[in-house]
């Protein structure tokens, strides 16, 4: 299995729909120590203008991490996951994710490069509602570290 930089531009089929629940948002907010009422109490979220409880800004990773496996595990991409560390992450949101959203992620390979023996794979996951409204795009760079001594 060898890393193939020519895989850049490849796009994968949409992920299965992910239904965002209030309790999942609460669980995630608790796990990151975010005690915002807007993540827990629908009335508090509505007072801030949101339709329901909203997810913290990095919550989309729950969905995009799973959706991105199609690229990371694509044998033609050839990323050696045992050597992978997370290099960069970025979210660009059209609006916050809220409870009740049913989301699909479309993963594509933005860039694939080899730098100083490291394999760098940047994926992009466009997250939209099943009705086609864009919610957030996540960019993720994974680095398969060079094998020592090679």
């Amino acid at each position: 299995m060898a890393f193939d930089p020519s895989c850049a531009g490849r796009t994968y089929p949409p992920s299965a729909p992910y239904e965002v629940g209030r309790e999942k948002i609460r669980e995630f907010a608790t796990a990151i120590g975010d005690h915002s009422p807007a993540c827990r109490d629908p009335a508090a979220a509505r007072r801030l203008g949101h339709p329901d409880v909203i997810a913290p800004p990095t919550f989309p990773a729950v969905l995009t991490f799973a959706a991105g496996r199609v690229a990371i595990q694509d044998p033609e991409v050839g990323l050696d996951y045992s050597r992978v560390v997370h290099g960069e992450q970025r979210f660009v949101a059209s609006r916050p994710v809220h409870a009740g959203d049913v989301l699909v992620g479309v993963t594509s390979i933005e860039t694939a490069r080899q730098v100083a023996g490291n394999d760098l794979l940047t994926t992009r996951c466009d997250v939209s509602t099943v009705d086609g409204e864009h919610v957030v795009t996540a960019y993720s760079t994974l680095v398969a570290r060079a094998i020592a001594g090679s």
């Binding site: 608790t30 915002s36 801030l48 913290p56 800004p57 799973a66 960069e88 992450q89």
Partner: protein, 140 residues
Amino acid sequence: MSAPRHADVEIGDRLPELALPLHRDDLVRYAGASGDFNPIHWNERFAREVGLPDVIAHGMLTMAGAARVVTDWTGDPGTVVEYGVRFTRPVVVPDPGGAVLVVTGEVTGKRDDGTVVVTLTATSAGEKVLAQARAVVRLT
């Protein structure tokens, strides 16, 4: 604390600093909530086998914790419209003891579209663990 208003915020304003303790149970909780069960985040033996000094925190947990400096400031997690980081160093979480993530934020940009740019720093054990950590924040 009332939400900061775009008109009142100035470049150079500093956000209240946060010190976030991280212990092994926090990593396990994040693994469960996020679905990222990579054993480097909970299994010391495995972490050492792949060349790490010890169990390390999920990069995404560090990123999420750092964002709290911004969302605690605005009082609304929905105000973050863009957020990106580079992971420069792992946050090592020994047991016992754990780690402390120290996060600071400063307003480094103010735009006409009602947003400001906040640049974050995050350190653990005196070392920077994030670089180019920036959030674009919509204020009223």
